[in-house]
Amino acid sequence: MMATYLRLCWEFFKTGLFAIGGGMATLPFLTNIGETTGWYTQTELMNMLAVSESTPGPIGINMATYVGFTVGGVPGAILATLSEVAPSIIIILIIAVMLKKFRDSKYVNNAFYGLRPASTGLIGAACVSVILEVLTCIRVASADGSLLNSFEMTGGSLLNLRGLILAAVLLVLTNWVKPTKNLHPIVFIGLSAVVGVVFGFAGV
């Protein structure tokens, strides 16, 4: 158990140090942790993300707490969260001392010119694998020792039609319909839960 706790601290310290751009930026890191440690599946992570979006508190912290709890109960939750915020505290305390220098630094600004699109790309990749998982029967699998991911089909139909219809409706409601697009995500999460129950989305 001790080894698990130490690994948990290390993985979340890395996440806190390299995830740039807020809570959602931790998602690619959390996906990676799940894949390399086997602590949780992609589907479980999605459920954690949904709960994190629907409860008070910053999403990134909620997800760290949830993953930590899943791995090691309450001590795991505390360790994961504290490890994730530790790099932030250290970095911000350093920056606070030289605030003006940091803001005007050419190197910092140039680095962020490259970092911002990369962070978006990482979240985009996580988004693709999540969409494949939920809406199709194609899975991304990381083979041991190989740099290339492989893609495999699971049983069932290629596309989850009911899921795709719900996704299309939600996409329109959250982006292009004026009265609904500024509603809090929790409204859409609640709506989807009801649709899932009414139409038996899990298929069990």
């Binding site: 959602m24 949904a50 508190g57 910053p58 709890f69 140039n110 699109p117 959250t174 982006n175 989807s192």
Partner: protein, 180 residues
Amino acid sequence: MKKLLELFWTFAKMGAMTFGGGYAMLPILQREVVENKHWATEEELTDYFAIGQCTPGIIAVNTATFIGQKYMGVAGGIAATLGVVFPSLVIISILAGLITNFAHLTWVQNAFAGIQVCVCVLIFNAVRKLWKKSVVDKRTCVIFLLVLAGGIFLDLSPVWYVIAAAVAGIVLKNLEVKAV
């Protein structure tokens, strides 16, 4: 000590009131920190928030550390941060325990299967929003596409992309200066 507790408690309240992460927190911060407590001015808060967005970590935590540090030094930074994360720790631990107990029920599984579709859309929307701010020209578009493809097809820790992108940003901007 009393001041540290006040910092902790104020930020704990803000953490509990925030739904949906850093961006939702800004208006609450303005009211509490600037108008009620006078721990920072409006301009300082805007600065902190801007830097909090582009430094590693959670935006809400970064901003809290800044404000706490300004008010009470290092101890203040730590107290404010612990305050922000405290409600999450309590609420999520309770919920996670509950959900584990009910996860086997059919209707709970159906509800989560529906919610997963919604999460796909929410992540996609987050990418769309970030895209507008981060992909500003052809070169940033190339970086985005390279990282996207790498993230999908390669089994590599995200850490490497972050390091490579920071170096690429500095190199590209330096070449630009030389070319002019």
